[in-house]
C-alpha cells in the first residue's frame, strides 16, 4: 500500500460551489436545506429565522408587507404563476371577521419533489411565512395540506409547529404584540386533483376533493366559505428571504416578468439527478448539459418534460429556451411545479403521452363530463395507437378531442390534461406516424409493435424452444431457429433465456 502523500500547494480541491452541478445554482427557497438541522428551531433562528416575522409584527404594517411582496414580483410556484402579491392583496381587501391562510403541500405532480424537500429540510421557513401571511391579510388560523405520501415531511412539520408554539412564534400573543395565529396540518389521501386550489379547500372541509367553479376565488370565498389565502410551499419559502433581504434584491434575480429563482426536480435520463435551484430564465441547455451533466451512456437528449401531467415535452430543437413562465407556455409546455424529466432516444413519446393520460384518467375526479369521459377516450385512442391498430383518423380525432377537453373542462386538471398529447403531436408527429403507418415503435418501447427475431448468433441450442409458452419458435438442433410472429406473444421469455444474444427485438 502506498503511503498517503501530504497535500502540496499545486494540488487544489474544487470548492463545491464551483462544481458544474452547483455553479449555476442560486439557493433562495432551498437556502437552509441540508445546511441546518430541520428538527432544531435554534439552528433556524441562528440563520436569521423568524427575524422577518419579528420585524413584520413590530415595525411593519400589514399593508407594507403586501406592498413588499407585490414589488418583489414573486409569482406562484405551484404552476400557474399568478402574482403572489396580488393574491395577498385580494385576501387582505376581503371584508370578513374570519379569514384563513392555507399552504398547498399536495405535491402530486409525478416527478417533482421540491415541496417535500423544503418541508423536510426547512419546515420553519414555511411556518414563518404563513404567520407573516396571516398578519398581512388578517387571518388567525392556518392549514397546511400535505399529501399522505410524505410521512417524513409531516413528522418534521409537527416537530416544527410544536417548537414554534413553545417559542411563542405561534399562539395567542406572538412577540408580545397581541397578534394570534395557529396552524394545523391536514393530510391528503392520494388524490392528484386536490392540488387544484378549490379541490384542496373542499378536501380540507372533509369532502370528496372535487373542484368548484371560480369565481368566487378562494381569496373571496374559500375554506368554510371564508376568504382564504392559498399559496404553495415553495412560494412561502421565498417570503422570509424577501423580507430579510428586501424586494429589490429578489426582483434583481430572474427575467423581466418572472422574478427570483425556481427549483426544478431534475430526473429521468440524466447523469446528475436531484433538486436544482436556478435563477428563472436560465436556459434548458445549461440545466441539462452543465448542471445535469447530460444523458448517461452517451445517449442523445430527446426531450425534457415539464409541468407533469399538465405540461408538455420540450424537444431538443428548443434546448436553448430560457425557462420562464411565458417562454414555456409559448412552446406548448408549462413551468408547472418544477418537475423536469429528461428523456433520451430510448423513450417513446407516444408512450409518454399515453402514460400521462393513463394518469389523468385515474385522477379525474369525475365531476365534469369533458374531463371524465374525454380523457378516457383520449387514453383509449393512445392505447390503440401504441397497440399497433391505430389509423391516421385516430390521430386527427385525438387533436379534435384535445381541443374539446381543454376548452370545456371545469378545472385546470381537465383544461391541461391534453397538453402531453398536443405537445408530443406537435414535436414528434413522425413518431405517431411511425406507429400508425409503419406499425413500428422507433424507440422499441411499445410492446404491441415489437417484433422478435433470431440473428446469426443462434447456435441452435433449443433453450428458447423449451421456454416459449406458445410454441412460436422452431428449428433443428445446432441450426439457426426462427420465430413465428403470428404465434409470438412477446413475453420476452426467449430473450431472457438466450445465452448468445441471438434474440433481437425491434
Amino acid at each position: 500500500m502506498e503511503p498517503v502523500k501530504p497535500h502540496t500547494h499545486d494540488e487544489t480541491v474544487t470548492s463545491l460551489n464551483n462544481t458544474d452541478f452547483y455553479k449555476h445554482q442560486l439557493r433562495v427557497a432551498l437556502r437552509n436545506c441540508g445546511v441546518i438541522n430541520p428538527e432544531s428551531i435554534d439552528e433556524y433562528i441562528a440563520f436569521d429565522g423568524y427575524s422577518a416575522l419579528a420585524r413584520a409584527l413590530t415595525e411593519q404594517t400589514p399593508a407594507e408587507i403586501v406592498e413588499i411582496v407585490l414589488k418583489s414580483g414573486l409569482r406562484g410556484r405551484g404552476g400557474a404563476g399568478f402574482p403572489t402579491g396580488r393574491k395577498w392583496q385580494f385576501a387582505a381587501d376581503a371584508q370578513n371577521d374570519v379569514k384563513y391562510v392555507a399552504c398547498n403541500a399536495d405535491e402530486g405532480d409525478p416527478g417533482a419533489f421540491m415541496d417535500r424537500s423544503v418541508l423536510e429540510g426547512d419546515p420553519h421557513s414555511v411556518i414563518e411565512a404563513m404567520v407573516i401571511a396571516g398578519y398581512a391579510v388578517g387571518a388567525h388560523q392556518g392549514y397546511i395540506y400535505v399529501r399522505a405520501e410524505y410521512p417524513i415531511a409531516v413528522e418534521r412539520l409537527n416537530i416544527a409547529i410544536r417548537q414554534a408554539k413553545e417559542y411563542g412564534f405561534l399562539g395567542d400573543n406572538i412577540f408580545g404584540t397581541g397578534f394570534a395565529f395557529d396552524l394545523e396540518i391536514r393530510l391528503g389521501a392520494g388524490a392528484f386533483v386536490c392540488g387544484e386550489e378549490t379541490a384542496l379547500i373542499t378536501s380540507i372541509e372533509g369532502n370528496r376533493g372535487e373542484p368548484r367553479p371560480r369565481p368566487p376565488f378562494p381569496a373571496v370565498k374559500g375554506l368554510f366559505g371564508k376568504p382564504t389565502l392559498l399559496n404553495n410551499v415553495e412560494t412561502y419559502a421565498n417570503i422570509p428571504w424577501i423580507l430579510q433581504n428586501g424586494w429589490e434584491k429578489f426582483a434583481a434575480i430572474g427575467t423581466e416578468k418572472s422574478k427570483g429563482t425556481k427549483i426544478f426536480a431534475l430526473g429521468g435520463k440524466i447523469r446528475n439527478t436531484g433538486l436544482v435551484e436556478v435563477p428563472i430564465g436560465t436556459t434548458l441547455r445549461t440545466v441539462v448539459e452543465e448542471v445535469g451533466g447530460g444523458c448517461p451512456g452517451g445517449k442523445k437528449f430527446k426531450a425534457a418534460q415539464t409541468g407533469g401531467p399538465s405540461g408538455g415535452c420540450i424537444p431538443a430543437a428548443h434546448i436553448d429556451i430560457p425557462i420562464d413562465y411565458e417562454s414555456l407556455s409559448s412552446i406548448g409546455s408549462m413551468m408547472g411545479s418544477g418537475g423536469l424529466i429528461i428523456m433520451d432516444e430510448d423513450n417513446c413519446m407516444v408512450d409518454i403521452a399515453r402514460y400521462f393520460l393513463d394518469f389523468t384518467v385515474d385522477e379525474s375526479c369525475g365531476k365534469c363530463t369533458p374531463c371524465r369521459i374525454g380523457t378516457k377516450r383520449l387514453c383509449q385512442l393512445l392505447d390503440k395507437i401504441t397497440g399497433g391498430s391505430g389509423t391516421m383518423e385516430d390521430v386527427e380525432l385525438l387533436e379534435e378531442l384535445c381541443a374539446h377537453i381543454s376548452n370545456n373542462s371545469l378545472c385546470a386538471l381537465g383544461q391541461t390534461a391534453p397538453n402531453p398529447v398536443l405537445s408530443t403531436l406537435r414535436y414528434f408527429r413522425d413518431e405517431y406516424e411511425a406507429h400508425v403507418i409503419d406499425k413500428k415503435c422507433p424507440a422499441g418501447v411499445c410492446k404491441g409493435l415489437l417484433q422478435y427475431g433470431i440473428n446469426d448468433k443462434c447456435t441452435g441450442c433449443t433453450a428458447c424452444v423449451r421456454v416459449c409458452p406458445t410454441g412460436a419458435i422452431s428449428g433443428k438442433v445446432k441450426e439457426k431457429h426462427v420465430i413465428d410472429p403470428a404465434k409470438c406473444i412477446k413475453c420476452n421469455a426467449c430473450m431472457e433465456k438466450c445465452r448468445f444474444n441471438a434474440i433481437v427485438k425491434g
Partner: protein, 166 residues
C-alpha cells in the same frame, strides 16, 4: 385502482372498536372531521371495511353514502385488507421513464399477485403507487417500509427473497 368489496369477513381485534369510538368522540362536531377520522380508523384496522364505515357515519352524524363517497374518492383509503408486508413500486414519471414498468412486472411475477391485490396467504400486497418524491433515486420500490432505489429488474428477486424468508 380496484376498490371492490373484499370477500374476507370482518372481525375486530380486542380494543380496536374502543379506539375507534375514542377517535370519533375526539373529532365529533369539528369542521372537516371525516378525513382525519377515516385516516385514523385505517391506522387502527389497516383498512376500512363496511362495518367501520357504518360506525363512523353514525358517530359523526353523516349518511353512509357520504362516508363511502370520501373513502372511494381517495386512493389511500382501502376497503380491502393489505398484506402483512406491502410492496409499493413507484410509477412516477422519473421512475416510469427509467423502466418502473419492468420492475413492477418482476415484482408481480415473484410474489404471485397483481398490483392492487394481496396474496392468498395475506403475506404480501403489491401497489403501483403515485410518485413518492424520490425521483433522484429512480426507479424506486418500497418493501415493508424499506426504500430501494436505482433498481434494475435483475435485483428485484433477490430483494424480495429477503422478505419472503422473514
Amino acid at each position: 385502482m380496484p376498490n371492490t368489496k373484499t370477500v374476507v369477513p370482518f372481525s375486530a381485534a380486542p380494543g380496536q372498536l374502543e379506539k375507534l369510538d375514542a377517535v370519533i368522540a375526539g373529532y365529533k362536531g369539528k369542521p372537516g372531521a371525516t378525513m382525519p377520522v377515516l385516516q385514523e380508523a385505517q391506522e387502527i384496522f389497516g383498512y376500512l371495511p363496511e362495518e367501520v364505515q357504518i360506525k363512523i357515519a353514525e358517530g359523526l352524524g353523516l349518511s353512509l353514502s357520504e362516508v363511502y363517497g370520501v373513502v372511494s374518492f381517495y386512493t389511500q383509503f382501502s376497503v380491502n385488507p393489505k398484506g402483512r408486508k406491502q410492496v409499493s413500486v413507484c410509477m412516477g414519471t422519473a421512475c416510469y421513464v427509467k423502466g418502473a414498468g419492468e420492475i413492477l412486472e418482476r415484482v408481480e411475477k415473484k410474489i404471485g399477485c397483481k398490483a392492487g391485490s394481496v396474496t392468498e396467504d395475506g403475506q404480501f400486497s403489491i401497489d403501483a403507487t403515485r410518485c413518492i418524491g424520490a425521483c433522484g433515486l429512480a426507479p424506486v420500490m418500497i418493501v415493508d417500509g424499506d426504500v430501494y432505489g436505482r433498481l434494475s429488474p435483475d435485483q428485484v428477486d433477490g430483494i424480495l427473497e429477503k422478505y419472503m424468508k422473514g
